[in-house]
């Protein structure tokens, strides 16, 4: 790591933000956690360039950006599968590559998945941390670059690194066919719903509404009827919670969720499957399967083992040019 360089945004893409593993330990003050929607791919991208998992990456959404790499550095992309070129040559998701000062990194056509993560060697995107995190939360204008999505002309500080590890990984197995099966643990307000609501939740495909974002996915499907009236008293909530307002249309809470909520929650998507949820786009479908806490933990351990296995078998030699 040597002099500071810059990543300059030529075209920002649809929604490109600086993200890390989230702004924890300030929810008492109602500071949302934010962070990468697909933490698996964020961590993998960081690993590919030799960064710690908490280093900040760029989260790219559906339509990717075009950037000028204003430093000699090593980059890697993981997550959604985009056509990529750097300095005019094709580069590949899941493989670290060297970029020379002045090279243009272009995200082209997207084949699969919704969100990709661009990692930069030497510690990632070096915007100033806010309350211990660089994660962007656009709603509260916090973190990242001025608390907002990136725009043309922005410049992000990065380290200059002449060469780096030559890591390569297969990456997350992305959902195909525009749908994913996600496992759901019931509760804690399961008693607000009758058996018919659970039957509906686990037997029908829910479409992700266009009115979905990093805060939450609005799901279109049969209404999940409450078995009682009123609302629970507002309480802390977490990513993966499926909250159901009185009208019955569920909302899956994602990375930018608020810290507390007052709608009953029929269940929670398990941590192991949140990366799959993050790789779905509006208009695509979710099917839910009920699972137990024990199964949720087993699934998370399996997911973590899979990620660790990808991280411990680097390809030998220098980074791809």
């Amino acid at each position: 790591m040597s002099l500071t360089g810059w990543l300059r945004i030529v075209r920002p893409g649809l929604l490109t933000t600086v993200q890390d593993l989230g702004r924890w330990s300030h929810q008492l003050e109602a500071v949302p956690v934010a962070g990468a929607m697909d933490a698996y791919s964020h961590r993998l991208a960081n690993h590919l360039v030799g960064n710690a998992p908490e280093a900040a990456t760029l989260e790219v959404t559906l339509i990717g950006p075009e950037l000028v790499v204003d430093a000699d550095t090593v980059l890697a992309v993981a997550g959604a599968d985009f056509d990529l070129t750097c300095g005019g040559a094709a580069v590949f998701s899941g493989t670290a590559f060297e970029a020379r000062r002045g090279a243009v990194l272009r995200f082209g056509r997207r084949h699969l998945g919704a969100r990709a993560y661009l990692a930069v060697a030497g510690g990632g995107i070096l915007t100033p941390p806010v309350l211990g995190s660089r994660a962007t939360h656009t709603v509260s204008h916090m973190g990242g670059l001025e608390g907002r999505a990136l725009a043309a002309g922005d410049a992000l500080p990065v380290a200059a690194v002449a060469s780096g590890p030559a890591n390569r990984a297969r990456g997350l197995t992305l959902p195909t066919g525009g749908r994913a099966r996600l496992r759901v643990m019931p509760g804690p307000q399961e008693d607000w719903f009758g058996p018919r609501a659970w039957q509906a939740l686990t037997s029908v495909s829910f479409r992700i509404s266009p009115r979905s974002n990093r805060m939450g996915y609005r799901l279109e499907g049969p209404p999940l009827e409450h078995a009682r009236s009123g609302e629970p008293i507002s309480e802390p909530v977490t990513m993966g919670a499926i909250q159901v307002p009185a009208a019955g249309a569920p909302i899956l809470l994602m990375a930018d969720r608020q810290t507390a909520g007052g709608y009953p929650k029929i269940g929670h998507v398990i941590t192991a499957d949140l990366c799959l949820a993050a790789q779905l786009a509006p208009g695509e479908f979710i099917e839910f399967d009920r699972c137990s806490y024990r199964e949720a933990v087993a699934a998370l351990i399996a997911r973590e083992r899979e990620l660790m296995a990808q991280m411990t078998h680097p390809r030998e030699g220098g980074a791809a040019r």
Partner: protein, 214 residues
């Protein structure tokens, strides 16, 4: 007190489901005790009105040990029978006018003069039960039932930072400009949230607040 999983990365400790200062204090006290233990893997401890959310990394947390710690500290928190001496904040408010566009609507709801709304709102001492919605937004209770006007039927696209609002028996100050549906009766120039100071939020759960007409 009941400990329930809310997914695989948070435990929700539920107290009696009421909005009550003593119940709320027990949740805050349990959070304080657990925070002092610094249990490995725990990444956030968040009080609600009558609950406590304990966020943890499932791969780095000994859940049985966390459960024992909650049960043990919960016993201590349950013995809280009096409220500690809280921090009391006085927040100067300009009621009505451009900064309080709904003061007349609340007066109409209450069937009284705007001056009576001000007197009732500023005449009470409020407890910070919890924070939520946006950074630094404190839910304060309870508002005098006579002026407890419901939320506006159509929320505003943008409520300015510093707006003082009423929503039923809750009152609060918008720390930042956001969309919002509360009845806005006044304005304060006090900075409710600043990420550059510690703590960032002026108000934390358990504090008391008085509004002072200017």
């Amino acid at each position: 007190m009941r400990i329930r999983p809310a997914g695989d990365a948070m435990l929700l400790v539920e107290f009696e489901p009421v909005i009550d200062p003593l119940v709320n204090q027990r949740a805050i006290e349990l959070g304080r005790r657990l925070r002092a233990r610094a249990v490995p893997g725990v990444r956030d401890i968040v009080p609600g009105y009558c609950s406590l959310g304990i966020h943890f990394d499932p791969l780095r947390t000994d859940l049985a040990a966390l459960d024992r710690a909650i049960t043990e500290d919960g016993r201590g928190a349950a013995t809280v029978e009096t409220l500690p001496e809280p921090a009391v904040h006085e927040i100067p408010v300009v009621y009505g006018g451009a900064g309080g566009p709904d003061l007349q609507a609340v007066a109409d709801f209450a069937g009284c003069a705007p001056a009576d709304v001000i007197e009732r709102h500023a005449g009470a001492t409020y407890r910070v039960y919890m924070l939520g919605f946006v950074p630094g937004f404190a839910y304060l209770g309870r508002v005098d039932a006579r002026i407890a006007a419901p939320r506006r039927r159509v929320p505003r696209d943008l409520v300015p930072a510093g707006s003082v609002g009423i929503a039923g028996v809750q009152t609060g100050v918008y720390p930042a400009a956001t969309p919002g549906g509360w009845q806005i009766i006044g304005f304060t120039s006090v900075v409710m949230f600043d990420a550059g100071r510690t703590p960032s939020s002026l108000l934390v759960p358990g504090d008391l607040v008085r509004f002072v007409p200017r």
